[in-house]
């Protein structure tokens, strides 16, 4: 678990801003086994943290995780096991990591208009409202999907 995550450099679309009809940041492998939280997304702001205001120009949106808040079963109850055996018709484990999509079309267009770089970074900052720890963030990778 971590409080924040910054991606490696991601390539911007090889298209003009007018050609982009939609752009999504897709976050894969997001853990939702612990506390509920809001994940704030900042572009090209690797030093962003929970104190960075959401009216900062680098803020691109957020996603929320409605968390399970811990395990209440016996040993192994919350261990996520792949169910890829062909006759296993059970649904996926409830704690199978989630995917989140944040629509960032205008923000990607802005980066394209600015044209200062061919790449950008994504920083995700977890915020648990109240006094609880923000150390709740686990995700596998982020991908930019753009549509023309």
């Amino acid at each position: 678990m971590a409080e924040r995550y910054t991606s490696e450099a991601i390539e911007l679309p090889n298209a003009g801003p007018g050609a982009i009809s939609r752009a999504d940041l897709v976050f894969y492998g997001v853990d939702h086994s612990s506390s509920s939280f809001c994940a704030r997304i900042f572009l090209d702001k690797p030093d962003a943290d929970a104190t960075t205001p959401i009216d900062d120009p680098s803020y691109a949106g957020s996603f929320s995780i409605f968390g399970h808040g811990g395990c209440f079963g016996g040993p192994g109850h919350c261990d996520v096991k792949e169910r890829d055996e062909p006759f296993d018709l059970r649904p996926p484990h409830q704690l199978t990591p989630a995917t989140r999509t944040v629509i960032v079309t205008d923000h990607i267009k802005r980066l394209l208009v600015e044209g200062s770089s061919d790449t950008f970074t994504v920083t995700v900052v977890a915020v648990v409202p109240g006094d609880e720890s923000n150390d709740v963030l686990t995700l596998r990778h982020v991908r930019l999907l753009s549509y023309v």
């Binding site: 996603f63 929320s64 409605f66 968390g67 209440f72 999509t101 409202p129 109240g130």
Partner: protein, 281 residues
């Protein structure tokens, strides 16, 4: 989406495309615009359900426990079944309430309403007491012993409006989501909106294991269901993928296909914002 807004303010255009395709379809209403009679029925139904003992499958504790604790937790999140499962959940809960108070309907909590922060939770759910001075059964609920976290509370609580909580969704944001043309895309975006409201409400609502014990959970999910209904009206040709339609929605004896037409489930969403004041003069 100009004809299918989600605003609840006076004069807002809401659901003009809603038709009445079946006899005896009942209307769910905004929690902010319940008549005194509707609100009284709702409070009586919830109180009666809360008064049933824990193992009674007609009772509030039974239904709240289906979502999380006690195990097994049946709730479906981070899944394309999110909307159908919660529609079935609301349907069976509402039917159980109607066995106790005929005609009662679960209202929706319009979190997009442009109201002062202190009024973001409708008074029907926020007031600690009803007009007769009795405890408001919509403000909190007991949590059965088997549903409590180890060392956790025995009653629901809320902690809304914390400074670092995500803001409640705006009607503009919902309108953008309503414009999405693909069910899976729409469902994922609406589920994110839903999660943010759970986080905003705080307390019990922020906890999957216990969220459904808070009476406002049901109004929150009625709003989610309503937004799905509005999306269906705006995209009559769109549907969940065919591979999902026969999927069961355990523990309910329904499939995804069974949930798609709310008129066949006997309810719809009020197409007018007209109504009597919620508070007696």
């Amino acid at each position: 989406m100009a004809s299918i807004g989600v605003g609840a303010g006076a004069g807002a255009v809401v659901g003009t495309a809603i038709e009445s395709p079946a006899v005896n379809v009942r209307q769910r209403h905004s929690a902010r615009r319940l008549t005194a009679g509707q609100l009284g029925d709702l409070r009586r139904a919830i109180a009666a359900a809360q008064a049933l003992p824990d193992p009674d499958e007609r009772g509030y504790q039974h239904f709240a426990g289906i979502h999380g604790l006690p195990l097994p937790a049946y709730c479906t999140h981070d899944s394309p079944l999110f909307l159908p499962w919660h529609r079935a959940y609301l349907y069976f809960f509402e039917r159980a309430l109607q066995d106790l108070v005929p005609g009662v309907m679960v209202p929706w909590w319009d979190w997009t309403a442009n109201v002062a922060a202190a009024e973001a939770i409708p008074a029907a759910y926020g007031d600690e007491r009803d007009p007769d001075g009795q405890p408001n059964p919509l403000a909190a609920s007991p949590i059965q012993p088997g549903g409590q976290r180890p060392g956790g509370p025995a009653e629901t609580a809320r902690a809304p409006r914390l400074a670092d909580a995500p803001p409640l969704p705006s009607s503009e944001w919902i309108d953008e989501i309503l414009d999405l043309g693909d069910f899976l895309d729409f469902s994922e975006q609406l589920e994110q909106v839903h999660g943010g409201v759970h986080v905003w409400t705080g307390g019990t609502m922020r906890d999957i294991a216990n969220a459904a014990y808070d009476p406002i959970f049901w109004a929150h999910h009625a709003m989610v269901d309503r937004v799905w209904r509005l999306w269906q009206l705006g995209h009559p040709q769109a549907s969940p993928p065919a591979t999902l339609l026969a999927r069961p929605l355990a523990p309910f004896p329904m499939t995804v296909a069974d949930t798609l037409d709310v008129s066949l489930l006997g309810y719809d969403y009020a197409g007018s914002t007209a109504g009597a004041p919620m508070r007696p003069a």
